[in-house]
């Protein structure tokens, strides 16, 4: 049943959203790499006044094994207030949770007991394949006319990957989103400039290129994705493709400006095969067309071969591996995860073309194994990976697993599981670890942890139609 007044977590503009109250709970995707235990959504208490602050306070096991939970998202968000097809009286209550390996999509209801989400629907892989022609569902975004889901693989084929649309109310698969995909084949992330009718999508690899681990021959052969695609959101056609150059391998996370009058966004690139550096780029309009400009370069860090996993020994260096980025709702700070070197960097991107580094936190890392200050004896594996920023921009959450098969290559002695919280000085920039908040290890019951979603919304879940 719909509400009489709009869902209180919907905000017309990013400016209004930044005044939202702090989140009380965080939802974390947790998966068992061995596929022996079911994957789960873990619920963590984020209320600093609570006795169970920073602890896992809820847990929902899924009915199958081997799903590999990864990214997930809300059924509805602030885009419900967009004026062309407004539906602000629906509730933000369901988590749409894809299994990246199983291609199943679960729908969990968080309303009755926010700490114990309840499974209400399961979309089998055959539905996604049969109705949309896709598999390996990845990113979820709540769109104006449905729920958009990117997918890395084809239904019965390796590719092309693309975007499927789910019905807002029934969650049934409506079909493939694209009318004309041009030569787009690889898929990964997507997001949009709603008021400009622009959808942007990026490239990783097809299932055969990633599911058994990073394939060195493909990487050195420059076969992973290195392009960015721009689409007409209304016509659902590809309008422009920008190639960054094939040395830039894996164009992953896309973070458009939240301000709907702006038409730029940030893209993280995992690595350059020329020097193992990672980079962040800005897409922007130039004379009517999109251009993509590199604005941040993060060099590899030299290391003794003895300290490196076999995959990296030939290079004598640790690549930063920028695998996630996140932009604060006020578009001021960009957070960049360096999963290889074990660092979260904060940049002031008030001028998107000239980012200024304003903060850094080190945790884990292939060589560094930096411990959390509250557990100084525990050398951490993995590094800051999935980043989530609270709506007010004051808190940042990071988890440490990248992707099962790839964790094993870069952290062969085990990646572990941890979730750290970082406090932000929103006035001057600067980030510090919260010593009271570090669920890790057995707290996650043998699972690895990937994306975090915050109750009520966060910096990577909502889009806005009003400035």
């Amino acid at each position: 049943m719909t509400r009489w007044t709009p869902d209180p977590t919907f905000y017309p503009s990013p400016r209004d959203a930044a005044t939202a109250p702090p989140e009380q709970l965080a939802y974390i995707a947790a998966f068992d790499r061995a596929a022996a235990l079911p994957d789960a959504i873990a619920v963590v208490d984020t209320d600093p006044e609570s006795d169970s602050y920073g602890r896992v306070v809820g847990w929902t096991d899924l009915p199958h094994t081997g799903d590999e939970l990864h990214h997930f998202g809300w059924n509805a968000c602030s885009s419900a207030l967009c004026p062309t097809a407004p539906h602000p009286h629906v509730e933000r209550r369901y988590l749409i949770v894809p299994g990246l390996r199983s291609s199943r999509i679960y729908v969990l209801d968080t309303k009755d007991d926010p700490r114990q989400p309840r499974l209400v629907k399961e979309i089998p892989a055959a539905d996604l394949a049969g109705k949309a022609g896709y598999s390996r569902p990845h990113t979820i975004h709540c769109g104006p006319d449905g729920i958009y889901v990117s997918a890395l693989g084809g239904g019965d084929t390796d590719g092309p990957g693309g975007i499927a649309v789910l019905d807002h109310t029934t969650f049934e698969v409506r079909g493939a989103w694209e009318n004309d995909r041009g030569d787009q084949y690889l898929a990964y992330d997507f997001w949009w400039h709603l008021t400009r009718d622009v959808l942007v999508s990026s490239e990783w690899g097809t299932p055969s290129m990633i599911e058994d681990g990073l394939v060195p021959e493909l990487l050195l052969g420059r076969k992973y994705g290195h392009r960015l695609h721009f689409w007409d959101l209304a016509k659902r056609t590809l309008t422009q493709t920008v190639d960054l150059g094939d040395q830039y391998q894996m164009t992953l996370e896309l973070r458009p400006a939240h301000d709907p009058t702006k038409e730029y966004g940030f893209l993280g690139v995992v690595t350059s095969v020329e020097d193992l550096s990672a980079s962040v780029w800005v897409w922007h309009r130039q004379n009517g067309q999109f251009a993509v400009t590199k604005v941040i370069d993060i060099p590899a860090e030299p290391a003794d071969a003895d300290a490196l996993p076999p995959a990296l020994q030939p290079f004598g260096a640790v690549p930063p591996l920028v695998t996630d980025i996140d932009l604060s709702v006020d578009d001021r700070f960009l957070y960049v995860s360096c999963w290889g070197t074990g660092e979260l960097k904060q940049f002031d991107v008030t001028d998107p073309f000239h980012p200024v580094q304003t903060g850094s936190v080190r945790l884990g890392g292939v060589v560094g194994r930096v411990p959390h200050p509250s557990f100084p004896d525990e050398r951490l594996a993995g590094g800051p990976q999935m980043v989530e920023v609270s709506r007010d921009g004051k808190r940042v959450y990071v988890t440490n697993s990248l992707y099962g098969a790839w964790d094993d290559q870069f952290y062969p002695d085990g990646v572990g599981a941890w979730l750290a919280k970082i406090d932000v000085d929103t006035e001057n920039g600067g980030i510090t670890l919260d010593p009271r908040f570090f669920p890790h290890g057995d707290d996650f019951r043998g699972r690895r942890v990937h994306q975090t979603r915050l109750q009520g919304g966060d910096a990577s879940s909502d889009s806005y139609c009003f400035p």
Binding site: T5, C82, P83, A85, H89, P144, T169, T195, T261, F466
Partner: protein, 209 residues
């Protein structure tokens, strides 16, 4: 049409004008996107035109039909349609689907036509028109053309009221209170509207039979 009929038509128009989903919010968004009150003002006439077209089609059909068939047939059949449509709107949670915000003014009129039609905007004129004495009755022979004109006049009165309220809402939100007011003030008029439709349909049937 009596003053009562005109007031009812204008009142329904005002109700449509008040609903953010029927157009004024889109006009505000266009104004904010372009940072220009002119963009807002220029958006209002096409939205009103689309609404007028949607309402006029239904109104003309009702009025013309009434000129050629017995009055209570239109009332009963129309009432049934209204009850059915209202129930469907009330029970179905599907919303109007549309992606794409950069519309030309003709496309904006087309959008408004579709959104008004999906809301069943014209159908609500049925109870009003069903009680207007059919045109041409006095002279003893029915005239569908005149009946159609009555329908168009009704749609016109309705749309003028809709445009006035829509312009007022858009102006106040754009110029003074800001869109954040929607978070508290956007009452679910769609649900109310559907319930009113069911009620009005039932009433029309009762009056006609």
């Amino acid at each position: 049409m009596s003053w009562g009929h005109l007031a009812a038509l204008a009142g329904l128009g005002a109700f449509h004008g008040l609903n953010p989903a029927m157009g004024w919010l889109f006009a505000v968004a266009r104004g904010m996107q372009e940072r220009s009150p002119r963009a807002l003002l220029h958006s209002l006439p096409p939205i009103a035109a689309g609404h007028l077209a949607s309402v006029a089609v239904v109104a003309a059909v009702i009025a013309a039909t009434r000129s050629v068939v017995a009055g209570n047939v239109v009332g009963i059949a129309g009432g049934l349609i209204l009850v059915g449509y209202g129930l469907w709107r009330l029970l179905s949670e599907r919303h109007f689907r549309w992606a794409g915000m950069r519309l030309s003014l003709p496309q904006l009129a087309g959008w408004s036509f579709l959104v008004s039609s999906a809301h069943g905007a014209g159908l609500m004129l049925l109870p009003v028109l069903a009680t207007v004495p059919p045109a041409g009755v006095h002279s003893g022979h029915a005239a569908p053309a005149t009946g159609g004109l009555t329908g168009l006049a009704a749609a016109g009165v309705h749309t003028v009221a809709m445009l006035a309220v829509m312009a007022a809402c858009a102006g106040v939100v754009y110029g003074f209170v800001g869109v954040n007011v929607l978070r508290r003030a956007w009452f679910n008029v769609d649900r109310l509207w559907a319930a009113v439709m069911v009620g009005a349909g039932a009433l029309t049937i009762a009056l006609a039979s």
